[in-house]
Amino acid sequence: MSAKPRIAVHKFASCDGCQLAFLNAGEDLLTLAELVEIVHFPEAGPLDPAAKVDLAFVEGSVSTPEEAERIRAIRRHSRVLATLGACATAGGLQALRNFANAGEWLAGVYATPETVAALDTATPIREHVKVDFELWGCPVNGEQVLQAVRDVLFGVSPAIPDEKVCLDCKRRGNPCVLVTRGEPCMGPVTRTGCGALCPAMNRGCYACFGPAENPNTAAFANRLEGLGLLPDEVARRYHFITSQAPAFRAAGKKEAKDETP
């Protein structure tokens, strides 16, 4: 029996991109495998979903009845449970179905009686079980993930930055996309973690890391409208990859409503 800390990586509705934080880690993956025992991580091989673990990462959102059951079982077996990325933390793109008239989205598609049942929503893990800490991003920042593992192994709770993308942008000396290009950029309301990646690539942020601390979503909606965006266009910016973060869900709904007389 090894006394190494035990880790699990679970998958729910997702694109598998956040798990790549481990599979793309190169040497760090081998080092990690020496420091901890990876007991469940189907994409990498180990399979033991019911194992008791010290730290469980969850990728993906809950979108089927089976997943809703499974996440509760995982919580019972896991000392620390962390979400891995935008799907698990804020719904991911698949959560856009939550705003759709469910009947309308599904009426036009063929249904066969034997196919797997799906819920008509895709929801973040937090809405199902207690989550100890959440990692944002679509995908997560690999450095942040490995740092979080180290923190948990040392018994400290990981410090996840929640300041705005704008601050990182200033630090990097990027020209401001909003001011100099007059293009919409979600940086002023979005949490950093990417190091202001999109502005550095000459484009606006699309909020894949979700809301920052204290995002002034209403004032920022006005700013976007000042650039010529219509309310429903503003709504779509809040309702994108991280639409189930409460601040963005509410902001997008407000804009969508403003539009209908």
Partner: protein, 431 residues
């Protein structure tokens, strides 16, 4: 009549996404064989409807974290067809290089983390690393080089952000390219050694009869452009895909099965190499020849060798494309948004990926259809199992049969996350 023997692989490991295999054997014959994909549907085709054209590239990337560039390039091609955009040659070259970087990342990941442990008798790469540290490190290094070029050109390797209609949002600087190219040149012998090594793996010996489908380009090995061809003489452009390929529903799986003229067919590295061996650059063809394995090959297990050939090819192509690359005046060409229908077809790491979009006059998506490689290979995987398992010996113990079946499936590198996104599903309301 005896009682049937049921063998299940409840969760397939070392594949991307969630799938399972049900096998029922009665009186020494396969009575039922079903590859079930239970990856939850994420309904991408539906959620694209009503979004503006400008969201498409960012959205479709999220279908698959392992091959987002394939989705981005295919969507860009379709949108550019609608807007009547022709990108500058230097942009096409950069896109081709970026796409090859994704092949390197995806193929190296598959060979080392998913497939090779099978052939060497380990259950994970970390277990394999204890006995084969050099091979594993070489693989991770090559994978890392793919990722670094993706990050240089796209900001990050998973869901890069720079590909846009008309070009790129940012072009790399010469000195950035030079630094990485130096490492690419140094890696050539490693990629050659990898190819030689895959040819020494103890691969099951087996021949099967299957049509192969891939793109074909007049000059080069296909990746970002070409016509759709088959080993049986098909030769069509992307728009004609629906006339020849049909998606059929099967009740037990969340993915559709795709057939060519009512038959299963193969896409992916083996199909590509079988149909495009004459497009390999001479230095790659020479290394391949020394392995003694000849293509076209009818052994599905040669897929892993084909992947290694494509890694070596990718290194050569990246070097060729970027060595003398000159930034064009503009990073993207201007265009006017208009309505219409556009198609895209490119070679994702796992095989041809087909997109079709219909936009209205304002550029909003009216309809989207996406046919990923894994749904195309799914029927072929079942056909392979039906032939391979009896030859392996249905009388063998469950554990052996299960392990062999998993190996057969994994050999296709099925990306189950990709395969489900167009599912027709039945809904159960949350209470």
């Amino acid at each position: 009549m005896t009682d049937p023997r049921r063998i299940q692989v409840p969760v397939l490991t070392r594949v991307e996404g969630e799938g399972a295999l049900d096998l029922r054997i009665r009186d020494g014959e396969i009575e039922k064989l079903q590859l079930r994909i239970f990856e939850p549907p994420r309904l991408f085709e539906k959620l694209l409807e009503g979004r503006p054209w400008s969201d498409v590239i960012d959205i479709v990337a999220r279908i698959c974290g392992i091959c987002p560039v394939a989705y981005q390039m295919t969507a860009a091609q379709a949108l550019e067809e609608i807007f009547g955009v022709t990108v500058e040659p230097a942009i096409a070259e950069l896109r081709r290089a970026m796409y090859f970087a994704e092949w390197i990342e995806s193929h190296a990941l598959h060979i080392h983390l998913l497939a090779a442990p099978d052939f060497l008798g380990f259950d994970s790469v970390t277990a394999m690393a204890e006995q084969y540290p050099d091979e594993v490190r070489r693989g991770l290094h090559l994978q890392g080089l793919g990722n670094r070029l993706l990050a240089l050109l796209g900001g990050r390797s998973v869901h890069p952000v720079s590909v846009c209609v008309g070009g790129f949002t940012r072009l790399p600087e010469r000195r950035e390219l030079n630094a990485l190219l130096e490492e690419y040149r140094e890696a050539l012998p490693l990629a050659e050694a990898l190819l030689a090594w895959t040819a020494t793996l103890k691969l099951p010996d087996m021949t099967q009869d299957f049509p192969a489908v891939a793109l074909r380009h007049p000059q080069v090995y296909p990746i970002e452009a070409g016509r759709i061809v088959s080993s049986e003489g098909l030769d069509i452009d992307a728009a004609a895909f629906p006339e020849h390929f049909r998606e059929a529903q099967v009740a037990y799986s969340n993915a559709l099965h795709c057939h060519l003229h009512d038959r299963p067919y193969l896409v992916g590295p083996l199909a590509r190499l079988n149909l495009n061996r004459d497009r390999l650059p001479p230095p790659v063809a020479a290394v391949l020849e020394r392995t003694g394995i000849t293509f076209p090959s009818a052994n599905p297990f040669h897929g892993i060798v084909a992947r290694a050939v494509e890694i070596l090819l990718a290194f050569h192509e990246v070097i060729r494309l970027l060595e003398n690359w000159r930034a064009p005046e503009r990073s993207r060409v201007p265009f006017t948004v208009r309505g219409g229908v556009g198609h895209g077809c490119t070679e994702a790491p796992r095989g041809i990926l087909w997109h079709r979009y219909a936009l209205d006059e304002a550029g909003m998506v009216r309809a989207a259809t996406i046919t990923p490689p894994t749904s195309q290979n799914q029927a072929r995987i079942e056909e392979d199992l039906r032939q391979a398992l009896p030859r392996f010996g249905l009388e063998r113990p469950d554990a052996e049969l299960r392990a062999f079946a998993e190996q057969v499936i994994r050999n296709y590198d099925p990306c189950i996350s990709c395969a489900t996104h167009f599912l027709r599903l039945q809904v159960e309301r949350a209470p």
